[in-house]
């Protein structure tokens, strides 16, 4: 069955429901593709027996007339989500071979909706990074140029979707980890409002920022998946919102006439590469052509978001990662003296360089004498940043700008310069700190023929409006349908 991988989630779900193709055939097709593209480094774990067993179950549900919306659709999960049936490592040596006794809520909700799991996807260690180069296991390559990074931390998810190894994938976004790799790989991804999707079973990085979301080729597919992923989980996630589950597909197609799109002038400064700027400007003009109104707004503390985020996220990480002590699960050093020595050697061996740096920063800013000056100060500016957005939303319905200042860079280019990596997160961090929903949609190509993503940011719980704006844009353009040359060439064969 060739061509199955060209279908969107919506099309594939319809074919499965119409029994034109079985879930088992579909699963086999994608498993074969994953195997054929191992060199991209997208997957960390594949288990044909598990996937095919889930596919057989989906076929049985289809035969029994089950109307679950995603029945038989294969999806792969970022390795940040714990899964009972596949190892869950968070891209870290610390969790080599770790088997969770339960499934993350997001994974369970998608299974309930009928999804068949293709396995686990590569990511930066504990989701800390923006190039996927911090994975302890292997690099992931951008299908548009194999010498470039796919972005991160949900790099494997973006690679799998862009190379048509999976029709969709899950991702997580703490400071841009869905939006930035989606942008760099030319796919669509959405991070919902903080608290929309349960964090239960998402291996914790920074708990006041972490959010799950879908990555797919179209906004319509993201809407389908997001509807299944979100919903209150009050007994298992203390920060889960009470917001009732929503059908984000219901409003797709509404006119954009009169929609006020805020364009933050701070997103278009000297740091924005001209090739990215050209693609973003063209996208904004496209929106104008669809009847939207462009409004200049200001997010005056955009630059401050970098230090604020890189204080708060490491602080929370240092606390969350204190659980890796070599006692209850995960790696334990082979040789050690007393208990303290065991902790220190276990953590020295289990964590990679970026994770250690963040643990050190976090430990320092939370330590006696520095807490007020760093951590509390960062939390106060966080409120100012969130207030700035509320101010802006008085003038506009959603905000648009670049996802990242440049297209994907070369593998190794910034690997030894953590601060250079942090600075490149400037446009995704503000919405993360404010807990707002944000997405990336393909809007053109820049230097080296690399994809450029347009970032759309909505107000709290306004995902439906965001997705509709993205969907209308995708009805008028075809950037989201383009495939990397090597992938398109095999499709033609």
């Amino acid at each position: 069955m060739s061509g199955l991988h060209d279908l969107s989630v919506a099309e594939l779900a319809a074919k499965l429901r119409g029994r034109e193709v079985s879930a088992v055939e579909t699963a086999r097709h994608f498993l074969a593709r994953a195997k054929g593209h191992e060199s991209l480094g997208a997957f960390l774990a594949i288990d044909e027996d598990v996937t095919l067993a889930q596919a057989r179950e989906a076929d049985a549900r289809l035969a029994a007339g089950d109307i679950a919306p995603l029945l038989g659709v294969p999806v792969a999960h970022k390795d940040i989500f714990v899964t009972r049936d596949f190892p869950s490592t968070a891209g870290s040596r610390m969790l080599a071979g770790y088997r969770s006794p339960f499934d993350a809520t997001v994974v369970a909700r998608l299974a309930q909706a009928g999804v068949v799991s293709l396995g686990k996807l590569n990511c930066d260690e504990f989701a800390m990074g923006s190039s996927n180069e911090n994975s302890a296991w292997h690099v992931a390559r951008n299908p548009w140029d194999l010498e470039r990074i796919p972005g991160g931390s949900s790099g494997g998810s973006a690679v799998a979707v862009a190379a048509r190894l999976a029709p969709a994938a899950t991702g997580t976004d703490t400071g841009g980890s869905i939006r930035q790799p989606a942008s760099f790989c030319g796919i669509t991804g959405i991070k919902p409002t903080y608290g929309r999707a349960s964090r239960y079973g998402m291996i914790a990085f920074a708990s006041s920022l972490d959010q799950a979301g879908p990555m797919a080729r179209t906004a319509q597919d993201c809407a389908l998946l997001l509807s299944a992923m979100c919903g209150p989980d009050p007994d298992r996630d203390s920060t889960s919102l009470e917001a009732a589950p929503e059908d984000f597909s219901a409003g797709l197609g509404a006119s954009l006439e009169g929609l006020r799109i805020g364009v933050p002038r701070e997103f278009f400064g000297a740091g924005l590469a001209p090739d990215v700027r050209a693609a973003i400007d063209a996208a904004l003009q496209e929106y104008r052509g669809m009847g939207a109104q462009l409004v200049e707004i200001s997010l005056p503390r955009t630059e401050l978001a970098i230090p604020v985020y890189y204080i708060i996220a490491p602080a929370e990480a240092s606390s969350n990662l204190s659980r890796y002590d070599g006692v209850k699960f995960g790696h334990r050093a082979g040789q050690y003296g007393d208990l303290t020595d065991m902790y220190q050697k276990t953590r020295a061996e289990g964590f990679g360089a970026e994770v250690k740096r963040r643990i050190m920063v976090g430990t320092y800013v939370l330590s006696h004498g520095y807490y007020d000056a760093y951590y509390l100060q960062a939390q106060k500016i966080r409120r100012m940043i969130a207030d700035d957005f509320q101010q802006a939303f008085r003038q506009c319905d959603l905000i648009a700008g670049p996802v990242a200042p440049t297209v994907a860079w070369k593998l190794g280019e910034k690997a030894d310069d953590p601060v250079a990596n942090y600075l490149a997160d400037i446009f995704t961090l503000p919405a993360s700190l404010a807990g707002l929903p944000g997405m990336s949609i393909p809007c053109g190509f820049g230097a080296g023929g690399m994809p450029v993503g347009l970032q759309l940011i909505g107000n709290y719980l306004d995902e439906a409006r965001l997705l509709n704006a993205a969907h209308r844009y995708q009805q008028a353009t075809d950037f989201h349908l383009r495939a990397p040359a090597a992938i398109a060439a095999e499709e033609a064969r």
């Binding site: 401050l304 220190q344 740096r357 939390q379 942090y422």
Partner: protein, 99 residues
């Protein structure tokens, strides 16, 4: 403000991270590079601003939710200990703590 190698050793001890000589030196350079970036944040006037922990607290009252303290799902000890480095008779093994 600049950290010293003494600070690095102290933070590493607090974080229970063993750092080699070379690693400590690299860490010192990189953390100082990072804290240069943080300097401009410290100068911001935040008098009278409440710290923000749950982002939606900006637009609504977010109460701290507590679950009823009642027995729920049963804990499967064998499944939970399956990934433990050292277990004996249902107990997690650690180096001797008390002589």
């Amino acid at each position: 403000m600049s950290l010293t190698s003494h600070d690095i050793a102290r933070i590493a001890r607090l974080a229970r991270l063993e750092l080699g000589q070379h690693e400590s030196e690299r860490m010192l350079t990189q953390l100082n590079g990072f804290f240069d970036l943080v300097e401009k944040m410290r100068a911001v006037d935040t008098a009278g601003i409440e710290p923000l922990a749950h982002p939606l607290d900006v637009v609504r009252d977010i109460p701290l939710r507590l679950r009823e303290d009642v027995a729920g799902e049963q804990v499967d000890r064998a499944a939970n200990q399956r990934s433990a480095p050292a277990v004996e008779r249902g107990l997690f093994l650690v180096p001797k703590v008390i002589e």
